[in-house]
């Protein structure tokens, strides 16, 4: 009888144990440099990760001082992700100060968000020798093409999977979901359904998408008119020609068929000469440019001074999620960019 009662108690305890909530999954501490990387990590990692973003939204990634606070964050980190392509010049100093060997490039605790992305504007050796703030690996502002974010998502899934290998299916599912939402936000649901997200991505990456959509029809309608999302919003912008301060928007320009007619910086990181500004003013007048665009961290007085001289609007655009009042999520960031660009009318 006593033995039977003991057995019954054991079974009850066992049954209750099965009904207890599952143990909380581990939260992997991931430290990233830029806000956009943090958003992709949150999208892919969900509740499995705790994300620390080192740079505030609105902070110039080209010019960062390593602080003891930053070094301290790395002490408990299991993964460090940076954009790469020489954008974050501070990370070698940061990683050396932290002294965590497994977070160094090439080790399991380090990842490049930009891995596998084809860089544009790779400088020739003469440009490198001329000095200034030149990115040897090409323009690093890769996240301003939403299709590149799909590659970033794959890189981050792979990096998280090294530590969270038992959650690989979960990570892959979230990455696939993010890719599907990016496809639809970029091209619109109808075009994605018709051609498939992967095919659209590859047409986009080969530079063949615009001509394909503009020249081919389906059931009596040009494919371009079936596009939605950011691609269609860009197509309808009243003004597509801008002057920028720095070459921040090159991927955005290429992705959406805009034209950056010139940059206020004659050479990156070096103030422009009067001759350069005069030439830029001539280009702005001749080519019917309507606005100067720049992220918030560049000298506004210099930008506004030039814009006033040539009768252009100054448009401060968020270059990252959460910057200049933009939403913190990847999708809200691009929505905000288009809201601002749509505010530039056809006339001055």
């Amino acid at each position: 009888m006593i033995a039977a009662a003991r057995a019954l108690v054991l079974v009850l305890v066992f049954s209750l144990g099965l009904r207890l909530p599952a143990q909380d999954p581990p939260r992997l501490k991931v430290v990233v440099t830029l806000p956009y990387i943090g958003e992709v990590v949150r999208e892919i990692g969900g509740g499995l990760v705790g994300v620390v973003v080192l740079l505030d939204a609105g902070q110039d990634p080209h010019d960062v001082q390593v602080s003891p606070g930053m070094t301290g964050e790395l002490k408990e980190a299991r993964l460090f992700i940076e954009n790469g392509m020489t954008l974050e010049s501070f990370t070698p100093r940061l990683l050396a100060a932290a002294g965590e060997g497994f977070l160094l490039p090439g080790q399991g605790g380090h990842a490049w968000a930009s891995d596998g992305i084809v860089a544009i504007e790779k400088p020739d050796p003469a440009a490198l020798a001329a000095g200034g703030h030149v990115h040897a690996a090409g323009n690093p502002h890769i996240w301003l093409d939403p299709v590149n974010l799909k590659i970033v998502a794959r890189n981050i899934e792979k990096a998280l999977g090294r530590s969270l290998y038992q959650y690989k299916d979960e990570l892959a599912g979230r990455r696939a979901d993010l890719e599907a939402r990016l496809d639809e936000a970029m091209f619109g649901a109808e075009l994605v359904k018709l051609l498939g997200g992967k095919r659209l991505e590859q047409l986009h990456r080969t530079g063949a998408l615009r001509d394909f959509l503009e020249t081919r029809e389906y059931r009596g309608k040009p494919l371009a008119t079936r596009a939605g999302g950011w691609w269609a919003r860009a197509r309808k912008l009243p003004s597509k020609r801008f002057i920028s301060f720095h070459k921040t928007w090159s991927y955005f320009e290429a992705a959406f068929g805009l034209e950056i007619a010139g940059t206020l910086e004659e050479k990156p990181g070096i103030p422009p000469s009067p001759a350069h500004l005069a030439e830029l003013a001539r280009i702005a007048r001749d080519r019917d440019v309507r606005a100067v665009i720049a992220p918030p961290y560049y000298p506004r007085s210099r930008i506004e001074g030039f814009a006033a001289q040539v009768d252009l609007r100054t448009l401060v655009l968020p270059s990252q999620p959460g910057e200049e009042g933009a939403p913190r999520d990847l999708f809200g960031h691009f929505d905000r960019l288009f809201e601002l660009l749509e505010s530039v009318g056809a006339g001055r």
């Binding site: 009888m1 039977a4 057995a7 019954l8 079974v11 009850l12 066992f14 049954s15 099965l18 009904r19 080209h62 010019d63 790469g84 392509m85 020489t86 010049s89 501070f90 990370t91 070698p92 100093r93 490039p105 090439g106 490049w112 930009s114 891995d115 596998g116 084809v118 860089a119 703030h133 040897a136 690996a137 090409g138 590659i151 794959r154 890189n155 792979k158 018709l194 051609l195 498939g196 992967k198 095919r199 590859q202 047409l203 990456r205 080969t206 530079g207 063949a208 394909f212 081919r216 389906y218 059931r219 494919l223 990181g269």
Partner: protein, 92 residues
């Protein structure tokens, strides 16, 4: 009494297993059922087929592009050839 214990055990274990199953289907998996039992409809659409063939031909014509269905991560990536230049001392 003594003989009936195995039956009680069996009932309890069955109920436990049943409870576990019921708890499981409360999650996202609960949405999956009917959709997966509907066979995919095959629609003949020659115009669309031609479009897709043209798109794939344009992708294939690009010399360095990956092919449809192929991820960039499907390529072997040798980091020794990686294009990141990390000589940051001369950066600014």
């Amino acid at each position: 009494m003594h003989r009936s214990i195995p039956r009680q055990l069996a009932i309890l274990l069955s109920l436990t297993a049943l409870g576990g199953c019921l708890i499981e289907v409360e999650g996202p998996a609960a949405d999956l059922g009917p959709r997966h039992s509907v066979p995919a409809m095959v629609v003949e659409d020659e115009a669309l087929d031609a479009l897709l063939r043209d798109a794939d031909a344009r992708i294939a014509a690009a010399p360095t592009s990956p092919r449809v269905g192929e991820s960039v991560l499907d390529h072997d990536h040798d980091h020794a050839d990686c294009d990141h230049d990390h000589d940051h001392e001369d950066h600014r």
